[in-house]
């Protein structure tokens, strides 16, 4: 998946929006190559169980590197409907394919209020450039 087609949160999660067969919006969520490059040396990830209800901006899990631990934040309001089982045992997937096989959770959107706050790729790249200084 090319990042140009994704949306981004300030906290470096990416979002792919799809529509399920009942017409509900489902957000597939992962973290960006920029965030992974900053973390490096991943050792652990904790993801939620399906059914967990989340508010936009609420932590849904954590990712840990040799250096530090970081929370993962939900970019949308909704309910976790799928979790990438087995990701914890193949963390290298995150860096090899962050926007595809590196997905973490799928969240059925319950309220679209948070969606306009997400950035497109160009805007997100601008943010990253600023953070590097």
């Amino acid at each position: 998946m090319s990042p140009e087609k994704l949306l981004f949160a300030r906290t470096h999660e990416w979002v792919r929006l799809d529509v399920d067969d009942r017409g509900a919006k489902v957000a597939t969520v992962g973290i960006t190559a920029f965030a992974l490059e900053a973390l490096t040396d991943l050792v652990y990830i904790e993801l939620p169980r399906p059914g967990r209800k989340l508010k936009a901006g609420e932590p849904f899990g954590e990712i840990e590197s040799v250096k530090a631990v970081s929370d993962l934040y939900s970019p949308v309001d909704g309910e976790v409907v799928a979790v990438h089982e087995g990701l914890a045992d193949e963390l290298e997937t995150l860096t090899s394919d962050p926007y595809g096989q590196g997905w973490m959770v799928k969240i059925k959107v319950s309220d679209e209020a948070a969606l306009p706050r997400l950035m497109d790729y160009r805007e997100y790249q601008k943010q990253c450039a600023e953070e590097q200084h």
């Binding site: 490096t40 040396d41 050792v43 652990y44 840990e64 040799v66 250096k67 914890a88």
Partner: protein
């Protein structure tokens, strides 16, 4: 970063070669260039190259230098032969640790004896303040803070001596004893080489003029040494169970708790904290430094509680995911009753208890193929 972190003479090189610079004890230092784990493995299997110019370097000259230092640190300096280096502690009147230091006894080209004390970057100003009134009252000793004039490199790993030797003019590295040092030309520049390090690997450290260091660094890189940041310096020293000031060592920790009895020599000596240490020596009730192996993958970190059953019995002072052992490890201070190897404990990792077993230190010990002496 603070407004103006100090820069080592290699700052430009670090910045130009992907070094991730952070403020460490007031210095802009690289945490890593590529990955902490890759740099760690390079040091364990070949050769890592570290800029440690941020470490404080204090030089003591004069006929009274030996006596002055002997009355200052926990280890005997009187009688320390030229060329020998000792690990020692500076303690306060309560026997708490103000800093852990290396004391070098060196001889210059003219045969004149002098001492160098290498102190932690974060403690340099504290130690200078602590020295000032003592120096004012002392005779025949001059102390210079040469931190900014000299740079310092650590070349560490099984290939370190082979890679460093072509640059060291006057000393055969492999015949130097561990914890010895000498003045030498370093590719034609005046400097000091020592068989010391903070990684648990064989290797050497070089002190040389700030202006000359960039060229020497580049030659070591060109020869195959892997630039390595403070991130892996921490994982390497942790596997080797070397204490780090601000983690395992502080003004509230005494040397016996820290397992540093070997660095305390009380017999017939006087130095600040000496009497307090004599009393602390027989205390068996203070928390002890231990090693912990954890299950799972989550990393214990400084300040996390160590528990037994429902009670807290200690605190983690350093933790990481050990790249060599492929398991989370930690050093912690725990109540003596829980300090025995094999004791089953837990570490509270953000509200979740992770099983932890007390293990003997160090976590990692290198094989010793060509030790001098």
């Amino acid at each position: 970063m603070t407004d103006n972190p100090a820069r080592t003479p290699l700052y430009e090189w670090h910045a130009a070669h992907g070094g991730r610079l952070v403020d460490f004890a007031g210095w802009a230092m690289p945490v890593q260039y590529t990955s902490i784990v890759a740099e760690h493995q390079a040091t364990r299997t070949a050769c890592g190259l570290f800029d440690i110019s941020h470490m404080g370097r204090l030089r003591f000259d004069g006929a009274g230098a030996e006596r002055f230092l002997d009355a200052l640190v926990t280890r005997r300096v009187a009688g320390q032969q030229p060329g020998r280096i000792r690990y020692a502690l500076v303690t306060n009147d309560r026997g708490g640790i103000l800093d852990d230091v290396l004391v070098y006894h060196l001889r210059d080209q003219a045969g004149q004896s002098y001492f160098v004390m290498v102190v932690n970057a974060g403690n340099r100003l504290k130690i200078l303040d602590w020295l000032a009134p003592r120096l004012a009252a002392a005779h025949d000793v001059v102390c210079q803070d040469v931190t900014r004039h000299w740079a310092m490199l650590a070349v560490q790993g099984p290939r370190a001596l082979d890679l460093a030797q072509p640059l060291v003019d006057d000393v055969e590295l492999c015949s130097m004893k561990y914890y010895s040092g000498a003045e030498t030309g370093i590719a034609g520049h005046g400097g000091v080489v020592s068989r010391t390090g903070y990684t648990g690997e064989d290797g050497c450290e070089l002190m040389l003029g700030a202006a000359a260091v960039a060229g020497i660094w580049q030659r070591l890189v060109d020869a195959g040494a892997v630039p390595a940041g403070l991130g892996c310096r921490d994982t390497l020293r942790l596997e080797a169970a070397m204490p780090l000031y601000g983690h395992e060592l502080s003004e509230d920790i005494d040397p016996f708790q820290a397992g540093l009895e070997f660095a305390v020599d009380l017999d017939g000596r006087q130095f600040p904290g000496r009497d307090a240490l004599a009393a602390l020596q027989s205390r068996a009730d203070r928390p002890r430094r231990v090693g912990l192996h954890l299950g799972g993958k989550r990393v214990p970190r400084q300040g996390f509680a160590v528990t037994a059953g429902n009670g807290e019995v200690g605190q983690v002072t350093s933790g990481t995911f050990s790249p060599t052992l492929q398991t989370p490890i930690a050093m912690a201070y725990v109540e003596p009753a829980f300090a025995g190897p094999g004791t089953e404990l837990a570490v509270d990792i953000r509200g979740q208890p992770e099983p932890a077993r007390v293990v003997p230190l160090p976590f990692y010990r290198r094989r010793q193929p060509h030790e001098g002496s």
